[in-house]
């Protein structure tokens, strides 16, 4: 890339002179040669993602949360918490693409069906022309590592991203999705499966999923540390040990697929929340770890009662609590190594999921209500600035890349659309963002903090909710508030560059 025929010495001098010119010019002497590379005194960045995490199941966001998340809560206490963070594009795949490139996926205008990714708008691999922030960090001499068990990232689909890393730690322990990347040869038997299978799902694709999941678990899950979230966090701890010795600044991404379904935490964690008394369908000896046919069901079509829905919530809460426990261990490790004061911790999730609200269980792209779009989002400054504060800024996933690059002093690529949120720690505000805008498959969401518009991208089914009066988003008030509907729809169009695209079956038709 360097086209200029400079010697190294010249380069160093040029760099030095550049910096010096900012300072008193008198400092410049001919023999100034100090190399402007950093010592190991940070700041480093630790990015933690948990998949499928709802904000209202995190204690810091909801005091009555069913889950117990003392570690994330502590992180919020030490960091800056964003009250209403909405991932700009959902779910898993589009979100990761956005996080890594810093470019908005919304409104999925560049979607082309890309098998084996799901044939759903937004699921497109990272393009050659897109920047990847780990690559920019690597170019700047920063050690980069990423640990994940996310079946989409460890497979061939994010290979381009993995090539940018100094250390990639893939983990294939998500049994239910193992066939996605590696065929699994020792599946469970039918009776074993039926312990976990809702009768209504007895001849669906979920049978296969549970077969692999249970088969894998029987082989590899003995203790709590063998479960997926623990394995990912342990890999992160191992990386911390390694980079500590190297002395340079580092970026570590720890991206846990849990608490994604199947909701199958170590038993102790479930019992901690739901108690030992069987509940709902558990009374019939069934533990519904995969309580819907992906992506979603209506509660009544899978014939489960209120108690069973409650049970599912508790299982989800158990899985999240268990993931939180291991996040705590990772953060403790950071502390033990003396890195906590030099490391910015960035925690968020990619989307939530619906657990009985609106009569639905799972992720219904057409019903992307608060349970889907509202995620936890916390940044902990190494110096403790803004500790325990909250921000009403509509932070999102595309802000991650720019913020991390800025924190580490590396120039972002112009194509990165997000804002640099690190300015908040300097007492400034990022450029105003009066609306959040997001999309999930062929549905779009826009909100101003009080009103939320949810529609399909065609604009035929616009629903408006007043989240202040109606936090459950149950009463569509679009008919009475056409101006607000238009305003939020306009925000979507503006954000999309002027018009929203139209999707065909396999690609974007135009717009």
């Amino acid at each position: 890339m360097a086209r200029r025929g400079f010697t190294r010495r010249d380069v160093l001098k040029a760099g030095g002179a550049g910096a010096l010119s900012l300072g008193a010019a008198g400092c410049a002497t001919d023999d100034f040669e100090t190399e402007l590379t950093r010592d190991g005194d940070g700041p480093n960045v630790l990015m933690i993602i948990t998949d499928s995490t709802r904000a209202d199941y995190i204690g810091a966001y909801n005091r009555d949360s069913l889950a117990s998340t003392p570690n994330i809560d502590a992180l919020a206490k030490d960091g800056l918490r964003f009250n209403l963070a909405v991932p700009e594009a959902m779910p898993t795949g589009p979100c990761r693409r956005c996080v890594l490139t810093g470019q908005r996926g919304f409104p999925f205008r560049d979607w082309v069906e890309s098998p084996p990714l799901p044939p759903e708008p937004g699921w497109t691999p990272i393009g050659d022309q897109q920047p990847i922030f780990t690559e920019l960090l690597g170019d700047a001499g920063i050690e980069t590592a990423y640990c994940t068990d996310n079946p989409f990232i460890i497979g061939p689909r994010f290979a381009e991203f993995r090539r940018t890393l100094d250390a990639a730690h893939p983990d294939f322990s998500q049994g239910a999705y193992r066939a996605f990347n590696k065929p699994f040869k020792r599946p469970a038997t039918r009776p074993e499966i039926e312990r976990y299978l809702l009768p209504a799902l007895s001849d669906t694709v979920e049978v296969q999923r549970i077969r692999d999941h249970v088969g894998w678990n029987a082989l590899f899950r003995r203790r709590e540390r063998d479960f997926s979230a623990a394995r990912v966090m342990r890999a992160g701890m191992q990386v911390l040990d390694e980079v500590k010795g190297k002395g340079g600044p580092f970026f570590l991404g720890v991206d846990s697929f849990d608490p994604h379904e199947p909701f199958d935490p170590p038993r102790a964690w479930r019992v901690k929340i739901s108690g030992t008394e069987p509940k709902g369908i558990e009374k019939e000896g069934i533990l519904p770890i995969q309580p819907f046919e992906t992506p979603s069901n209506r509660v009544d079509t899978i014939e489960i009662d209120e108690d069973t829905v409650e049970l599912v919530r508790e299982m989800y809460a158990g899985e999240l609590s268990y993931a939180d426990r291991w996040i705590g261990r990772l953060l403790n490790k950071l502390d033990d190594l003396g890195l906590a004061d030099d490391t910015l911790v960035y925690y968020f999730s990619d989307h939530g999921l619906t657990l009985g609200e609106h009569g639905v269980i799972g992720k219904a792209a057409a019903l992307p209500h608060y349970h889907i779009y509202h995620v936890p989002y916390i940044i902990k400054d190494p110096q403790g600035r803004l500790a325990g504060e909250t921000s009403d800024y509509f932070a999102s996933t595309h802000d991650v890349a720019r913020t991390i690059l800025s924190t580490m002093g590396v120039r972002p690529a112009g194509a990165m659309d997000g804002e640099d949120l690190s300015v908040l720690f300097e007492g400034k505000q990022p450029p105003s963002r009066p609306f959040f805008t997001a999309c999930y498959a062929d549905n779009v969401i826009a909100g101003d903090g009080r009103y939320v518009l949810i529609s399909n991208i065609v604009g035929k089914r616009r629903r408006l909710y007043d989240t202040l009066e109606d936090p459950g988003e149950l009463n569509d008030i679009s008919a009475d508030n056409p101006q607000m509907v238009d305003r939020l729809w306009k925000a979507l169009e503006d954000e999309a560059g002027g018009s929203l695209p139209m999707f065909g079956k396999n690609f974007v038709l135009g717009g």
């Binding site: 890339m1 200029r4 380069v11 160093l12 760099g15 030095g16 550049g18 910096a19 010119s21 900012l22 300072g23 402007l36 590379t37 898993t92 560049d110 979607w111 084996p116 799901p118 759903e120 393009g127 920019l136 001499g141 999705y177 066939a179 669906t204 694709v205 999923r209 992906t294 209506r298 079509t301 219904a364 190494p382 110096q383 802000d399 800025s406 002093g409 120039r411 972002p412 690529a413 112009g414 659309d417 997000g418 640099d420 720690f425 300097e426 990022p430 450029p431 035929k460 089914r461 925000a491 503006d494 560059g497 002027g498 018009s499 695209p501 139209m502 974007v508 038709l509 135009g510 717009g511």
Partner: protein, 521 residues
């Protein structure tokens, strides 16, 4: 891979305060960012200023410093500036017409492919011709927020809105008049413009007065934005004979009435002229010469005020001009030659870094805002899409830009070091030009297979694969689709078909059977 000897952004260095001291002392003071101004004061130094000079339609090959062996250009002042600047040899504006190009310049966002166009009263009813929207960032806004004095001297109506009331100021009593506004109404007809006021003279007068006023108010930002030499005033009769222009206008208005449901792009006009290319070029060169003289006047004033060593000078031409290439004349015209699109573009670092050097990066108008903000140590809004070109001064490289894309009127343009593809928005009439055709010496195959190729020749038939690849780049840079326009803005496909769609969307779909492979989200 370049040595990343200094990978920090200037924001970080300034924010850290005493960066030079820190670098000597093992970077002890790096953490703990402070506001730039405060940190700078602490370190006992002044932040630098920025002087942005914008002209219109100045082709690089008519500036002496871009020496192409053609000695027609006489631009001593620009040449002197180039000697002290980093010069971009392949600078191509991301959109070519005056308004969209300036919008890109102010917002740092691309105007290409005009997807956000809505007709605006008082402006040409052409895609791309809109004001800066409220949801877009603006260079001047960011500067204002950060207490940087910002003055923008222009005689075009771009900043004539409420939003810029605090920015678009000229010193008392010297406010330039908007005399060229009428051109905005019908920019495709370049004829008939008269008047004795020269755009460049007026804005340079304003700029000189502003410099005197701004001295001592460091850091400041001053933009001097002129319409010249585009549609060069003096040689106008050469471009289009007035009577032709009138006819053209009538014809186009007629056409507009006839097809009022279809939007009229700025079509490249076919104009009959009895003037030779050479005369057009001579007139244009003459015009460039006078622009050069005015720039010289402004830069001398900068010198006289003692601001030269503390002011970054950013010189850019926002548009370009075709001078008979492929029979095309005028601004915003699509021709196959890359030369037509290359504009003069240089940055003079106050510390003289990279003076007299060159870069072949495809610098563009949308890089201006992020580069200036970065130079001032300010955070670049994420919506700005341009690259931070200060990287070049820090021996870093911005992300590679392997091709350029742009649009002019009803044409999109994409090019790389060898090919230029020009097409209408719909992609129906694609023309491919090989600007660097292989010669006999390049050919190692059978002598008989070699067919000599002219760079004026459309080779889209022979090079179908190349056409496909170039078109894919246009689509990619446009975000995935290229918009189509109706009379009121972009139109979405199949909107009528969807009227018949079943409204029962959600409930039925929630229980659809999804393939296992597709359902792992």
């Amino acid at each position: 891979m370049a040595e990343r000897a200094a990978r920090w952004t200037r924001r970080r260095l300034i924010g850290a305060g005493g960066a030079s001291a820190a670098s000597v002392a093992g970077l002890a003071g790096l953490r703990g960012a402070r506001p730039p101004a405060a940190a700078a004061q602490e370190a006992g130094r002044a932040l630098t200023n920025v002087l942005l000079i914008v002209v219109d339609g100045l082709r690089a090959d008519f500036v002496g410093a871009y020496d192409d062996g053609d000695d027609r250009a006489e631009t001593p002042n620009l040449d002197a500036l180039a000697d002290e600047s980093l010069r971009f040899e392949h600078a191509i504006p991301e959109s070519m017409a005056a308004m969209p190009a300036r919008k890109a310049l102010v917002t740092g966002m691309r105007s290409f492919p005009f997807r956000d166009w809505r007709p605006v009263d008082g402006m040409a009813r052409l895609p791309g011709w809109t004001q800066v929207y409220d949801h877009q960032p603006a260079l001047t806004d960011v500067l204002f927020d950060q207490d940087v004095e910002a003055v923008y001297i222009a005689d075009n109506p771009l900043l004539e809105t409420e939003r810029f009331s605090g920015v678009h100021r000229a010193p008392e009593g010297r406010a330039p008049q908007v005399t060229q506004a009428e051109r905005w109404v019908a920019p495709v007809v370049p004829g008939g413009v008269s008047g004795d006021d020269r755009s460049i003279e007026r804005v340079v007068d304003g700029g000189i007065a502003a410099l005197r006023e701004l001295k001592g108010k460091s850091p400041f930002f001053l933009a001097v934005d002129a319409f010249d030499p585009a549609e060069a005033r003096e040689p106008t009769p050469v471009f289009v004979r007035p009577s032709d222009a009138l006819e053209q206008r009538e014809r186009s208005e007629q056409r507009e009435r006839e097809t009022d449901d279809k939007v009229r792009f700025g079509r490249t006009q076919e104009v009959e002229t009895d003037v030779s290319d050479e005369r057009v070029r001579d007139h244009y060169a003459e015009e460039v010469k006078s622009v050069d003289r005015e720039i010289g006047r402004l830069l001398s004033e900068l010198d006289r005020q003692g601001l030269k060593d503390s002011t970054l000078v950013y010189f850019v031409s926002a548009g370009t001009t075709a001078l008979g290439e492929h029979g095309v004349y005028g601004t915003a015209a699509a021709a196959g030659h890359e030369e037509v699109y290359k504009v003069a573009y240089m940055i003079r670092d106050p510390d003289g870094r990279r003076a007299g050097e060159r870069e072949d990066f495809y610098a563009s108008t949308h890089d201006v805002a992020p580069t200036i903000l970065s130079h001032l140590g300010l955070t670049i809004p994420g919506k700005m899409e341009g690259e931070d070109l200060t990287a070049f001064f820090d021996d870093d490289d911005p992300p590679p830009r392997r091709h350029f894309t742009s649009c002019a009127g009803d044409q999109v343009i994409v090019g790389d070091r060898r090919y230029v593809l020009v097409s209408d928005f719909e992609g129906a009439e694609k023309r491919l030009y090989d600007t660097d055709p292989p010669t006999h010496e390049d050919e190692h195959g059978d002598e008989d297979d070699f067919s000599p190729r002219d760079e004026d020749e459309d080779v889209s038939r022979e090079e179908a694969e190349q056409v496909r690849q170039m078109w894919a780049r246009v689509v990619q840079d446009a975000g995935g689709t290229i918009p189509k326009f109706g009379p009121d803005g972009p139109i979405r496909p199949r909107e009528e078909a969807d009227e018949n769609d079943d409204d029962e969307v959600d409930e039925g779909r929630l229980d659809r059977d999804d393939d296992l492979n597709f359902s792992g989200q």
